[in-house]
Amino acid sequence: MMKTIKNGLRITGFAVLLLLMTGLRGFADDKDYPDRPNPPALVNDFAQILSQDQVLELENKLEDFARTTSNQITIVTMKNLGGHDVEEYSVEVFNRWGLGQSDKNNGVLLLVSMDDHKAWITVGKGLQGVLTDAQSGIIFRNELRPAFKAGDYYKGLYDATDAIIAITRGEYKADGLHRGEHDAPLTAIIIFIIFIIIIIRIIRGGGRGGGHYYSRGGWGSFFTGMFLGNMLGGWGGGDNDSGGWGGGDGGGFDGFGGGSTDGGGAGGSW
């Protein structure tokens, strides 16, 4: 009797699992789109149209901008898009990688497809107030297209990103982001410290006068010092280069923030 019930449960569990798995199946074909770069990078020259120095130059410029404003401008060059439309493909890459911060949606993707001579600027919702479709179109026509027509891809990408930077500079400050990130844990940590202190007091209440060296506020201040130290470290780190979530990856780009786009932007063929 017990056994049949167990077997029944097992089968039901399996069926549920199967159902979940079919439910979670993705909509688009994964292999058509590049994986999120690891280590994270803002310049992803998959089509190899740039020299190593040029990639580095662009990467540094965009990383600097991302650090000061939290806006993540990303370049992706592709040889082709496997038959996808450039607009649709850009949105897919944008949202898969999560450009921009998740609470601000302040990412910009500049994607070019070499074989079909198409480029598209896709803008996260948080930047569409300044970088409108119309502005994106102007940047494409004035900066990117002439240079790409002339075969100077580096100049096209450099000038286009310069124009995007100029327009989106005033929108967000990185400070706000990092403060926001650390504010919540800060309160939690303070409450936790107070809690620990109370616990220690209670425990020590019994053994008062025992004369242990550490118990004279030793452990209490040790923990407080540790948490305060961690906390301050977090603050300091957040505000300059090396901080962020990952940390320890050499002070470069921290990674995409999980932003998304509704498909705004503009572009065309060169």
């Binding site: 479709d133 119309a134 102007i138 509704d262 705004g264 932007g265 503009a266």
Partner: protein
Amino acid sequence: MKVSYILLGVLALLLLWSGCSYNSMNTGRINMNQKWANVQSQYQRRADLIPNLVATVKGAADFEKSTYIQTALARAGALHSAISNVSADQLTAAKMAEIQKASAEAQSAARMAINVAVEAYPQLKANQNFLSLQDQLEGTENRINVARNDFNKSVADFNISVTSFPGNLLARLFGFKEQLMFQADAGAENAPKVQF
């Protein structure tokens, strides 16, 4: 005595379970309605942009009497009325087809008018205002696609929760019905593209 306790327990569990299921289905429905509102506003945007675009063409070129302009305006108006005041649960297959048709026709009429105007007045190609409005029209097309995909995804999630066993028993009880999805636009691929 013991049996009644067990029964009571089972009943409590059942109640708890149906409450949870109701909440998750309801969340699914709210999510779906919100995604639908996005779709709606993007269609609306398209309908609103076309008259602006037409106005620019009219201003830059003496083009007023063209039937293409008239058609574009009429189609934009038709899209506007097709999309207005439609909530997600009013989306029958016929209504969805009507919206999609109205949208495709509006876009196609606008493109036709643009192409004809540019052919007659090549100086339009240098008109910043004209180009910008065109960017916006293209951007709207992309946004419509994204919003529709998002809507379809939310519908798929919702449909799974109301049609799979055992949730479907409760869904019937609570009156949750399966929602239709958007189909790919018929003939979207042979719509006229703006070319110059």
